[in-house]
């Protein structure tokens, strides 16, 4: 349902993403891997609307969304997280997540000033949504804790919760387990599987190979902005070009 056609993003003379054709497996866990600087994050930023592609298209449910701003892309049901979680450290977990459902509400300034019925209903809706997604990611007990006081792994969960609060069909996760120990990585993997079971399509960028090979059903490999391989973990494992990209050209020479 989401695919890219000849997607290209250029920064001046640098081609960060080049002619990438890719489609997501619906309702499954997809992964994008590649060496540092391969253009993975740029690919995410283009698909989620933060960057405009230089050429090529992003097609979602048959419609070209490559010229839409990021907030419109989010409204269509495409959510994302960032490598650094960007949370507001001086507020509680709940306060951070409650704004996640804002895009599904209509209240404007006048509703806020006069505290209209609509505002109260929508605030209640946002609150329920926040508690629901926090429960889903396993943070029910930490709702009232300050974000500064929770662990890195919990912050990642809060970021997941925020993305889920937007009622997404697809979630893009940018290095969700960066800076996290192996045990916690396994727990986050379980959470991603749980999300996929709920029918949410997942696409993640990751460096931890073992984890990806176990978790993902479809993998795309980027190198210098170009797609060099695509397929199941097994296929990727035996792909010569991928081995070359990771181990250096001389390995196979």
């Amino acid at each position: 349902m989401l695919e890219t056609r000849k997607l290209t993003k250029q920064f001046g003379g640098l081609v960060a993403v080049k002619d990438v054709d890719f489609s997501l497996e619906h309702g499954k866990i997809n992964a994008i891997i590649g060496p540092n600087g391969a253009g993975k994050s740029t690919f995410f930023n283009v698909v989620s609307g933060l960057y405009r592609p230089t050429s090529g298209q992003v097609i979602y449910k048959g419609k070209d969304i490559s010229k839409l701003p990021a907030n419109k892309v989010a409204e269509l049901g495409i959510a994302r997280t960032f490598q650094t979680t960007h949370l507001f450290e001086m507020a509680t977990v709940f306060d951070n997540v409650v704004v996640g459902h804002r895009l599904r509400t209509q209240s404007n300034l006048l509703d806020s000033i006069f505290r209209t019925k609509r505002l109260k209903q929508e605030e209640e809706k946002c609150k329920e949504k926040a508690l629901e997604v926090l429960k889903f990611v396993g943070l029910s007990k930490s709702v009232d804790r300050m974000v500064t006081n929770i662990s890195q792994e919990e912050k990642k969960r809060v970021a997941f919760a925020l993305a889920l609060a937007t009622d997404p069909e697809i979630v893009f996760l940018d290095e969700p387990t960066a800076g996290i120990n192996p045990d916690e990585t396994a727990e986050l993997s379980q959470l991603m599987e749980k999300m996929a079971q709920q029918g949410i399509t997942i696409c993640l960028i990751e460096h931890k190979m073992q984890m990806i090979m176990k978790l993902a059903e479809k993998i795309m490999v980027l190198n210098y902005g170009e797609k060099i391989a695509e397929g199941t973990p097994d296929e990727i494992n035996h792909n010569e070009e991928v081995i070359k990209a990771y181990l250096g050209g001389s390995a196979s020479a």
């Binding site: 609307g49 960007h86 507001f88 704004v99 300050m146």
Partner: protein, 331 residues
């Protein structure tokens, strides 16, 4: 004990205190100073909404304050409009100009936004200073009427004006309180926190930043119009950068991004400068280090400092209670 100091009781207590002040002080000079401080507070609330809650530091704030003041002055003195229509129109004019400036200014971010608005503020000052045909230039505008009577209520005495300004201030605080504690305010805070994250949560950052900017100019306009009708003489100096920096100091000392910061900061600095008047310009020798210390040790000002201390105290108490319970259970 804690119940006596609940939020609601403190607020009611402060309002009663403010309402009784004229009868306690019985001194027109104090009344004048406090009325003026209330007017500054309204402007600081506008600045705080944008800089404190949305994360965009505008240095054109005194410019919009001056536009509000001059709009009221020109409408009443030159266009000979009645006070109340002029008083309603002045913030609208300020907001209109704010909207046009905002569309362009908000294409920039962070330092660039501050520098751009600094320039806009200075240009507004220059226009007021040099456009003698309209504004009277350095001679200023004199003979601005005081608020007209509302039916039998006269607003010409210092006490009446004090209550008039206090009423508007309370309304402004109520409106700001409701904005901050609603979805609109949460949207602003999300933008302050991270614009990229806000965008990917489906928030139109352009629309909401513009809303916050326009609101901040609206409050500057209200404060300016009140100032003009209270002092009844205005010169270009009210649009000067000094005023912007005064407002900034009130906001930062009180607590940027806090709800009661503008009250605390404005009262404290106005009180200090009144008491240190014998030092003349050497007062700055006290304000400078004070500001530096606050920025280093308590970036969220006095209110932020106290709030942080209070949260820690509550947490510690909670932990103690939990420990006590656990011990009791073990026994």
């Amino acid at each position: 004990m804690a119940a006596i100091f609940s939020k609601r009781n403190v607020v009611i207590g402060l309002i009663v205190l403010a309402a009784l002040f004229p009868y306690v002080a019985r001194n027109d000079y104090y009344l004048h100073v406090l009325t003026l401080a209330f007017i500054w507070m309204i402007a600081v609330y506008g600045l705080n909404l944008l800089a404190g809650f949305t994360g965009y530091l505008s240095l054109a704030h005194a410019g919009f304050f001056a536009i509000g003041a001059y709009a009221l002055g020109l409408l009443t003195v030159k266009a000979e409009m009645g006070f109340w229509p002029a008083f309603l129109l002045a913030p609208v004019i300020t907001t209109g100009i704010g909207f046009l400036v905002g569309i362009i200014a908000l294409r920039t971010k962070e330092h660039f936004f501050a520098i751009y608005t600094l320039c806009v503020g200075y240009i507004i000052y220059l226009v007021i200073d040099k456009w003698e045909g309209l504004t009277g230039g350095v001679r200023g505008l004199i003979g601005i009427p005081a608020p007209a009577d509302i039916g039998p209520i006269s607003l010409s005495t210092p006490i009446a004006q004090y209550y008039f300004v206090l009423t508007i201030l309370l309304l402004v605080i109520l409106v700001i309180y409701r904005i901050i504690h609603s979805l609109t305010g949460k949207t602003f805070i999300a933008i302050r926190n991270s614009e990229d994250l806000a965008l990917s949560l489906g928030i139109s950052t352009i629309k909401n930043k513009l809303l916050s900017f326009v609101l901040s100019t609206f409050f500057a306009g209200v404060a300016g119009a009140l100032y003009a009708s209270f002092i009844r003489f205005i010169g270009p100096d009210i649009g000067n950068l000094n005023i912007t920096f005064d407002l900034l100091v009130y906001m930062i000392v009180g607590g940027i991004g806090t709800l009661s910061g503008p009250i605390v900061g404005t009262l404290l600095i106005v009180w200090l400068s009144q008491n240190l008047q014998f030092l003349q310009d050497y007062r700055m020798l006290i304000f400078g280090p004070l500001l530096t210390l606050i920025v280093i040790f308590s970036p969220r000002g006095i209110v932020g400092f106290i709030a942080g201390w209070f949260t820690n105290w509550k947490l510690r108490r909670k932990v103690n209670i939990n420990q006590a319970q656990e011990q009791a259970e073990e026994v």
